[in-house]
Amino acid sequence: MAEVRLEKLVKSYGNVGVVHGIDLTIAHNEFVVLVGPSGCGKSTTLRMIAGLEDITGGTISIGDRVVNDLPPRARNISMVFQNYALYPHMTVKENLGFSLKIAKQDEATIEKRVAEAAEILGLTPLLARTPGELSGGQRQRVAMGRAIVRHPDVFLFDEPLSNLDAKLRGQMRVEIKKLHQKVKTTIVYVTHDQVEAMTLADRIVIMKDGHIEQVGTPAEVFEQPKNTFVASFIGSPPMNLLDATVATEAGRKVARLTDGVTLALPAPAAEKVTDGQAITIGFRAEAFSPVGYGLYGDNEVATIERTVILPEPLGTETLLYTELGGKEVQGKMLNPRFVKPGEQLTFNLDLSRLHVFDKASGKSVLV
């Protein structure tokens, strides 16, 4: 059992706080992704779990041991670094076997475990090479191999894919996912890429400025963002966020946008707001589609005429940039036809997929 528990974890450099007392429990064999913009404290948190950074306050436990003051080598973790950190003067085989050799395992065990790891990652033909003779993807795999030979309690990944080109990143993402299925272990994975977070994680931890903004499954953070930060950070393109004021029209709560357009609020949110309240409404591009080109089904929609400022064809869909509530918003056209800039289209906005946030606090009115 290797549950990782962070309690009131604090890190500061002198007077500068980097991580401000976060609490997080990572279950045995769970794949948790820490995601957030640069400087949000996610890498620092990971390095504290690894023991590479001192802890200013709080506790970290792995399994049932508090590891606060243990050096990295005593924590039974392994880590994949952003720059791979392969030992340049050793062959792939020596790189893989290094930790076992340090642990004074006998030759036969080392041989067996290295062969095992090499097999899982398809490194067998490369064992005699040095890191300098490998491609980026191969180096990445060696770094992962070095992590798995030890059978650690916890795997730590520090932005492992950010040095790869887009295509390779996609491939390696799949390999990491497969690896987790083959080698069941607790994984803590840090990235700034929300796509990686969505595709890999059992649970996503979204961080900002040293605080945790939301913890949840990919579906939860996507469907029910707790605040405007999570709403705009998760999902691509980012959620459209528009300022509005609550009013009552024909007995229903509506949001009145700055340009006078009114949108009926969905039932659960409507009960949490009062007339005159300043709110931010959010909707994703896929909830805003030209009539006949969306997935709104039988949901209640608001029908709005708009001029397309810029169409962005992506093949299976086209992003349409237009204007609403005084701001540029993005809509999505599924199974698209050709659209010219300046074309007038009728859009349906799926009202059941409106998110409502309190403007002052930025928090969802549902929490």
């Binding site: 690894a50 023991g51 590479l52 050096p71 990295p72 080598r73 973790i77 392994s78 880590m79 670094f81 952003q82 720059n83 791979y84 950190a85 392969l86 030992y87 340049p88 003067h89 290094f98 930790s99 340090i102 642990a103 040095t130 890191p131 300098g132 003779e133 490998l134 980026g136 180096r139 070095r146 030890r150 040095n163």
Partner: protein
């Protein structure tokens, strides 16, 4: 064909420069193997007509005509002084270089600046104060006295050079080793040290050559066979009115050869540098 014309010009320039550097050395070597008559001949004899080992026999005391010079003793002094000061300078350079490259501490930049500034002082300008202090504390004409001075000369340089090599090694390599089960000490010896080896070897060869060839300070601080080094021993060939050029050149060859051999051995490290394939470049 302007290109090839330029190339020839460059080759010619290189030839001239190399000739200026190499011919005096070559002349010393040739002089070491000819007899005194040829050395004094007017017009000069460019290529020796008769090669001889007499000069070496003479200075090694194997001939009756001349009194021997304690070359073996000088050689031993040189080896003791150069090797000891080099080993110590490299060890201290490694510790200092690693500290400057890896740790943040108060006064780091100032300390580094002072170390570098000490290189701007010509060593010979310190010879008088050093002589006075050494004579008070009884270090004149001792190996230890000379070693101490050479350490002071070499340490700033070895720290600076080794610091640069450690800086090039990404911190994440040492961190990876620590995660892999190493103590900080093991991570240093198993990962960082092998990667900085070429830098440390370079620092070693520079420190060795400085000590091996140094003349000015050693000539002040040594008196007798107890501590005289080879370069100082060269002065034994000058008498009041004459200079024994052939003997001096023979001894110069004895000085040059070990340095040359050592440089060839370490050469690979001097030019190689490591290819850092372990991290993305």
């Amino acid at each position: 064909m302007e290109r090839s014309w330029q190339r020839w010009l460059i080759r010619f320039a290189v030839f001239i420069v190399m000739a200026i550097i190499c011919i005096p050395g070559l002349w010393i070597v040739m002089t070491a193997f000819r007899d005194n008559v040829e050395v004094m001949a007017r017009p000069p004899v460019w290529i020796p007509e008769r090669w001889t080992l007499d000069n070496f026999r003479a200075i090694l005391g194997m001939s009756e005509s001349q009194q021997g010079i304690p070359v073996a003793r000088y050689f031993l002094n040189s080896v003791i002084i150069s090797v000891t000061s080099t080993v110590l300078a490299v060890l201290i350079g490694m510790m200092g270089g690693y500290a400057f490259a890896r740790y943040r501490f108060k006064g780091k930049n100032v300390a580094f600046l002072w170390l570098m500034l000490s290189r701007t002082v010509p060593g010979i300008s310190l010879s008088l104060p050093v002589f006075m202090i050494w004579s008070r504390v009884g270090l004149i004409d001792t190996d230890f006295g000379v070693i101490l001075v050479y350490l002071a000369l070499n340490i700033p340089f070895t720290i600076w050079l080794i610091d640069g090599f450690f800086r090039q090694i990404p911190l994440s390599l040492s961190e990876a080793a620590q995660v892999d089960g190493c103590t900080r000490w093991q991570a240093f010896w198993k990962i960082e040290f092998p990667l900085a080896k070429s830098g440390i070897a370079s620092a070693g060869i520079f420190a060795f050559l400085t000590s091996w060839n140094e003349f000015a300070l050693a000539s002040q601080l040594t008196r007798t066979t107890a501590s005289k080094t080879l370069p100082v021993g060269l002065m034994d060939f000058t008498a009041q009115f004459t200079v024994d050029w052939t003997g001096m050149c023979a001894m110069a060859v004895i000085i040059i050869v070990p340095a040359l051999i050592l440089t060839f051995i370490v050469q690979k490290h001097l030019i190689a540098g490591l290819t850092f394939g372990g991290v993305k470049g």
